[in-house]
Symmetry: C2
Subunit: 336 residues, 2 copies
């Protein structure tokens, strides 16, 4: 069992491999954008810059739902349908726990057994990150790499820990929420705020004894959705019942997403939304990185902790504590 | 019409006046915390620090709703009810447009005519701020000053521009959403996400021809609220119909808020929530101020704009643009 040391690809290797839609090189490029090593970061940036003109020609779909709702099973059915329809699909699974379990790559491939053997599908769990519930800079760059590598549909799966949904919502075109009908006629496990982000809702497991319950849930959800204003996309979210066993709803879900793309491309929301997503990502990652690089560099975790305790003990107001840190930082600047 | 120049109060004057529950001194202290002058900022911080032990003994209620829903009329009725019940109330109106119109102080007092003449009520429009839809550091400090000045109930009114609701939600104990029944049986004008933040919903104008419609709306809203998980407060949001003409619901709304306080004080959510609000305010205002002081100091608005345009033209990725700014800032630090 000798380990074969592969030669590291060069910038040209990466570029040419991605353009040729080579899955192995694309996977290596993703590993590179996930790397924290300074040399890797520079090379990754050069690659992203070079492939940027090749990006944008996909539909980016966020998929979320509570544990047990059947996300992997749904993605397997949906992915099979899409590849049969001639699409090349990439599945990016955001799993904040993967840094702990280390087993998620194998896990995901096992979870989506058929899809992982499908030549037109590419499954990639995010290996990194505790920020934003597992969503990192790398996730955004990975989408770009997959687009440049010729994938038409990019599915981004999140596990439903709240923060990751918001972060994923801000990098996709269409956000799909999976729910299942509960024991009564209520829907269990929908986090506050998540439903409002959805462009489409799928009631899963609408088969066997569960069909009626799922249809009830669909009506409830439709009524709830009616209460809200028309969003800026002008798209009114829809509810579809679906079954991975009977394949009920799978085609309808894709039709819904295609219609969404039609509507929002016609009214320009599609491209405006992507531009706004990029701009707000720029600003939010700037704030995050500056906090990390500067505040954490000057004000130690202990100092912050100490101030937090003073705030809780009402010895200092939150604003005064903030001013104190800002003053410390400004003093460092003043010395230049 | 001579203008009388009042002597500026000293630190001791402020402190003694607030402790004596003097409305004029309290109003002057609020003006001080709203000031941007360095000398005022220092004095304001000293005052806030001194009064901190006197704060916390109020219930902080956020009130929002779409234009035309009858927020002022509701606050007038609700405020009259509360003062009759022996409460001292402060009304803080967040109006992001007030810097433009300059007329909102007069405007608010005219809007709430009876309340403004009530000795146990204090009406204060926020005069400042474009950040977070009119919500600033000053809003948080103003709440503290009002508490120290003996107000039992603090009502914070926002105008429904989205960002201000989230900011206000994060500084109150109870968040009340006002809606009205629309032309059909749908509710018009509820912004996505706002409903999910509400601890209570009031359907206004439930009088005359509108009673049936309001009751329908109440049922619709109750059904929609049932879909969501129990929030961390363990409090299940309720819907009340109300009329400022017949005073229908006014007492029920106060009872609901008292029950909320009972429940959340018993399960400790009340105090834990306030502590968490302070800590997250500390962190978010740190990020905001550092962005303002440091990024804007080094990376000019033009540089940011230039990068934004490059991002939109796909000449650079959002992450690379962010890295560029962070590098600029780190270089300044490296020179020390």
């Amino acid at each position: 069992m000798e380990k074969i040391l592969r030669k590291r690809p060069t910038f040209a290797d990466y570029l040419e491999g991605i353009k040729r839609h080579d899955k192995i090189i694309t996977a290596q490029a993703i590993t590179l954008v996930e790397s924290q090593l300074p040399a890797d970061i520079d090379l990754a940036e050069k690659i992203i810059e070079a492939i940027l003109p090749l990006t944008g020609n996909s539909i980016r779909i966020g998929i979320t739902g509570p544990p047990g709702v059947g996300k992997s099973t749904f993605i397997e059915s949906f992915g099979e349908f899409l590849t049969h329809a001639g699409k090349k699909i990439a599945v990016l699974a955001i799993d904040p726990s993967s840094t702990l379990t280390k087993g998620s790559i194998l896990g995901d491939k096992t979870r989506m057994e058929n899809l992982s053997r499908n030549a037109n599908a590419f499954i990639r769990p995010s290996a990194t990150g505790n920020t934003l519930g597992g969503v990192t800079n790398a996730t955004k760059e990975t989408i770009l790499l997959c687009e440049a590598a010729g994938f038409d549909v990019i599915l981004i799966e999140t596990v439903g820990v709240g923060q990751s949904e918001v972060a994923v919502r801000d990098m996709v075109d269409f956000f799909l929420l999976l729910v299942m009908a509960g024991a009564g006629d209520e829907l269990q496990g929908i986090k506050k705020g998540i439903m409002e982000m959805a462009d489409g809702i799928v009631v899963t497991k609408a088969d066997g004894d569960n069909v009626k319950r799922a249809q009830h849930a669909k009506l409830d959800l439709q009524n709830a959705l009616h209460l809200f204003n028309t969003p800026p996309s002008q798209w009114l979210p829809r509810v579809v019942t679906s079954s991975a066993i009977t394949n009920l709803g799978i085609e309808d879900i894709w039709k819904m997403i295609e219609q969404y793309a039609d509507v929002t491309k016609q009214n320009d929301f599609f491209s405006i939304n992507r531009q706004q997503q990029d701009i707000s990502w720029f600003h939010s990652s700037m704030q995050r990185m500056i906090k990390k690089e500067i505040v954490d560099g000057i004000a130690s975790a202990e100092k912050i902790k100490e101030l937090e305790e003073k705030i809780m003990a009402k010895e200092i107001s939150a604003s005064a504590a903030c001013n104190l840190i800002v003053k410390m930082i400004k003093q460092r600047f003043a010395k230049i």
